[in-house]
Symmetry: C2
Subunit: 336 residues, 2 copies
DNA sequence: GAAGGCTTTGCAACCGATTGCACAAAGGAG
DNA sequence: CTCCTTTGTGCAATCGGTTGCAAAGCCTTC
């Protein structure tokens, strides 16, 4: 079949005997056209498998229908952000797809903010989803200064208004701790991520609140911090076992650290969960395959991704600034 | 400063007192212009932080300088492709960046090939990098039929010519097995991925070759297959321990399966590596953090990503079909 | 039967780049 | 002092859409 030559709306126009404008309107479902004409034109377009030219459309509309997923470059040293980033990317991608947006992935150098000009100034993307773990504040500041549209994963910290989405960290910490208390644990430790991060602080507050409500005290010997990495989880756990030998439970701020912590516990001759119960955070896909399967706080990551996409698009279209907190859920498996 | 209004080459043209064409030529380093003029124009462009409009350029050049990273939608069930995909994406991204290309991520339904039209027909992307694990052949066939430019990760299988890149699976299998033989192991098992995959078959051949060269026989009781997933690794390992109780080493086709296998070995009251030595495959970031740290065959994934990018771009520009095999390397840690 | 109002469609300008071709200026040859 | 190259620059068309405005057709209404 010689249908090959149908690549522009002008071709369709000729085939249907109307003008370019009419074809354009038909394809965009303009109310100016009669249903009949629209139908006729669309039928032809479908028949010839017409695909509109994206760059031309973007040029005309001054809008790319593309957003950039901004993340730091991946490196050998394995942090929670990696797996987490992968999972959330799937959610974002599907959320954007539903809104007819494409996703460009931009790996940035944490030191450098020139990517903002590079992608926004050129009309390549309409907005950003920020996932970089380090120096996030620095990037947020730059985006705000340039008036670039964006949404960030994590609790909002600047006084300025911008879109954000984060998990309910307070409830997460509380839920985990309550579960351990309910299981009859007496010496419940908190193994957090970097103390300076808002998320970690909120989880700690939840931990504290649960203990207080149960009439328990917070003991400094039961508090330790890592940096979300595997190794730091093992180290912090060792520290806890040393400083509080009678520890019988631990709430860990990430699944990755929790898995490392469980290894450390075993290396110290204790059993999980018999001697020490462990609750993780995130419910990454590895959580259910760990040994033993990890009890953890689930953040619905795919859903979070979809919401990031949806809220950003909403902001682009209406200027609505959203700061959403997504619910968390306790998933009970074998480790606690 | 009122530099805000400099957004098009026409603005630059006015500022420098030349025509749009001259500005365009200067920015593209055309040989038609004198160095002096080019310098002068570039200086102005730099001064005003001019960013060229991408859609306009794309429309004019009929080329988007964007490629699509095509992968299946991520789902809960954790396969090697996930982590592997993440790591290789980083390499691809940086490789494309070096070639001045952007990376669009497209999550596709394995059943559906309409994404090809959707992205190629619209001029949104210039080519594809195919990573989907299942139904890969189906997608390759569709791409070939439509004459779409692409490169795939994995050994080429069709009789048709297309670009590909894959690890040296034969050498990988051989290296791993030789290492185990060299360590004095006598009953060396092969725990593979799906038997029908070319990669797995090649690794098996390498395993076989190493045994043969050492004057050893291949025993069917020492062969098992999983599907690259965590759980399948544990199951297959159990099967091996049952069918060959005297097994003292195992070459596993993926790090994820290997880690699960090590757990299974311990659950059966044996020690790693003392009783059973384990060699994995891929050297994912988790390999060095496993317990014990995993001896494994490294594929240089970031480099593979860069090569995928580079070779695809080369194909786009010159039509050169490349089928590259990247070297592998034995990384000795504690598990064997 | 003419005027006015709707609805439907087309013309042409515009979005911001690239590039073939024409033309102007400068240098060299006769 | 002309004429011819050679080199450097600008004009205007083009890429493929979108959209403000004008116009054409049709139906009412007086």
């Amino acid at each position: 079949m010689a249908k090959k030559s149908v690549h522009t709306i002008a071709d369709i126009a000729e085939l249907t005997g109307v003008s370019k404008s009419t074809v354009s309107r038909a394809l965009n479902d303009s109310p100016l056209l009669s249903e009949e004409t629209k139908e006729r034109i669309r039928a032809v377009a479908k028949k010839y498998d017409f695909q509109i030219n994206a760059p031309a459309r973007q040029l005309s509309l001054k809008q790319s229908n593309t957003i950039a997923f901004v993340t730091h470059a991946y490196h050998k040293d394995f942090s929670v952000a990696d797996l987490f980033g992968l999972e959330i990317m799937g959610g974002i991608s599907s959320g954007l797809y539903a809104e007819h947006y494409d996703m460009l992935v931009v790996h940035v150098d944490p030191q450098d903010t020139s990517w903002i000009h590079q992608y926004l100034g050129t009309g390549r993307v309409d907005g950003f989803i920020l996932m970089t773990s380090t120096r996030k504040q620095y990037h947020i500041k730059a985006l705000l200064e340039l008036g670039a549209p964006f949404i960030v994963w994590g609790a909002p910290t600047s006084s300025k208004k911008y879109c954000s989405l984060c998990g309910d960290n307070f409830s997460g910490g509380k839920l985990a701790t309550e579960h351990l208390i309910g299981a009859g644990r007496k010496q419940i430790a908190f193994l957090g991520g970097p103390a300076e991060e808002v998320e970690v602080e909120q989880r700690y507050k939840g931990y504290e609140a649960a203990l207080r409500e149960a009439g328990k005290k917070v003991s400094p010997a039961l508090i330790a911090h890592g940096d979300f990495s595997n190794t730091s989880g093992a180290e912090a756990m060792q520290q806890l076992l040393d400083s509080a030998p009678d520890v019988d439970a631990v709430f860990v701020n990430s699944d990755l650290m929790a898995i490392a912590a469980m290894d450390t516990i075993r290396e110290n001759g204790r059993r999980v969960p018999d001697d020490v119960a462990v609750v993780g955070y995130d419910d990454l896909s590895i959580a259910e395959h760990s040994n033993p399967p990890l009890t953890t706080i689930r953040q619905d990551i795919p859903m979070a991704g979809k919401l990031l996409a949806k809220n950003l698009v909403q902001y682009l279209q209406t200027g609505n600034v959203t700061n959403t907190v997504t619910p968390v859920e306790l998933i009970v498996r074998k480790s606690a």
